[in-house]
């Protein structure tokens, strides 16, 4: 269970950091809905690492990065998180199929 505790703490730390960073970047009273390319790359790297690295430290880093984007100010990081999760699940399924062959 220790690894799950590490993952959840990593996710929480990433989310809080993402929230603080996001509010510093976007103080305006409206939401910019355009896709942030850097955030999308961070989310994809984060979620792929979290689900597929097979290593506690790398997965924890993945949860920090994934949590950072997911925890942004409401309205930000949604599309990026969805992209990251979808790509991570696809990579997981490909690796699973590859290991079964």
């Amino acid at each position: 269970m220790l690894d799950y505790m590490i993952y959840i703490i990593a996710f929480v730390v990433g989310s809080i950091a993402g929230l603080v960073y996001s509010y510093k970047q976007h103080g305006e009273p409206f939401v910019d809905t355009s896709l942030n390319a850097v955030a999308a790359v961070v989310a994809v790297v984060g979620w792929v690492l979290a689900f597929n690295s097979g290593n506690v430290i790398l997965s924890a880093i993945g949860f920090v990065l994934g949590g950072f984007i997911m925890g942004e100010r409401p309205g930000y990081g949604r599309k990026e998180t969805a992209m990251g999760l979808i790509i991570a699940i696809i990579v997981y399924l490909i690796l699973k199929c590859y290991s079964m062959m």
């Binding site: 929480v12 997911m70 925890g71 100010r73």
Partner: protein
Amino acid sequence: MNLMAEILIQVVIAFLAGSLLLGLHRKVMARVQKRPGPPIIQHLIHSLKFFFKETAFPKTVSKVFYIGITFILALIWIVGVIAGPVAHDSLLILFGVYAVYKIVEHNSGSSSGSPYGKLSCVRAVLSAATELPLFAAIVFVYLVTGTMDIGEIIAYQSVHGPLFFSIPLAAVMFFMLIITKSPYSPFAITKDKVLISGFETEHFGLLRGFMHFSESIAWYVMLWVFLTIFFGPLNAVGYLIGMIVITFITGFINATTPIFSPNHSVMTQITIGAICFFGTVVMIFSGVVA
């Protein structure tokens, strides 16, 4: 692993996961109501914030009782974590934890001296109607599996399949308890906004922090018990998906239903409980349940 370390790890997981799930619950409700809603992490930040706020004591409180009750509340849900996820012990202990929780909720309101707390305390007695379906659900699990031990119930399900498919109405009774304890539930008569924050109204700072801590753990433990005794055996991913799905369902239900008046709440709970009880009895005696 060392037992104390195991307990500590499970309590931390229960607190953090429970807080995130309650944050998700709030987010789902907001999205259903077409609001952006707070970040998912907000419930956890809110809980942590209270630990660093000034703790004030109203003049009307019964001080020892007023302070002690919050620590007892935290302690009983830690016992819930130990009896459930850590030790896979008897369901009766978890029923006891829930029963004591109701008493603590009751006394938390009465110890504050506030009229809102006292009215919430009276409603806590009425809302004990949820304990009857919970007890009935546990009895049906015992009748089918022949044991109260969670570890043995998991072993039974690994051979005969999840109990949800053999006694679904008992699962509905247990699910009603989960809906009752979820925030902004139609059955949440003890925390009706007419009573401000109900039995929590007069608890501030550190004491409110402990109450939030307990609520998060309670949510995690109740979802864990429900998934374990009706959908077991599950791995960590199964629990995660199950908890998120149940949180989504309760969030959707709570976002679309108003809070009942105390009379309607109790009657609805008892009616659903009675239908599910007699339905399960009929299923058992007609041989539908093996």
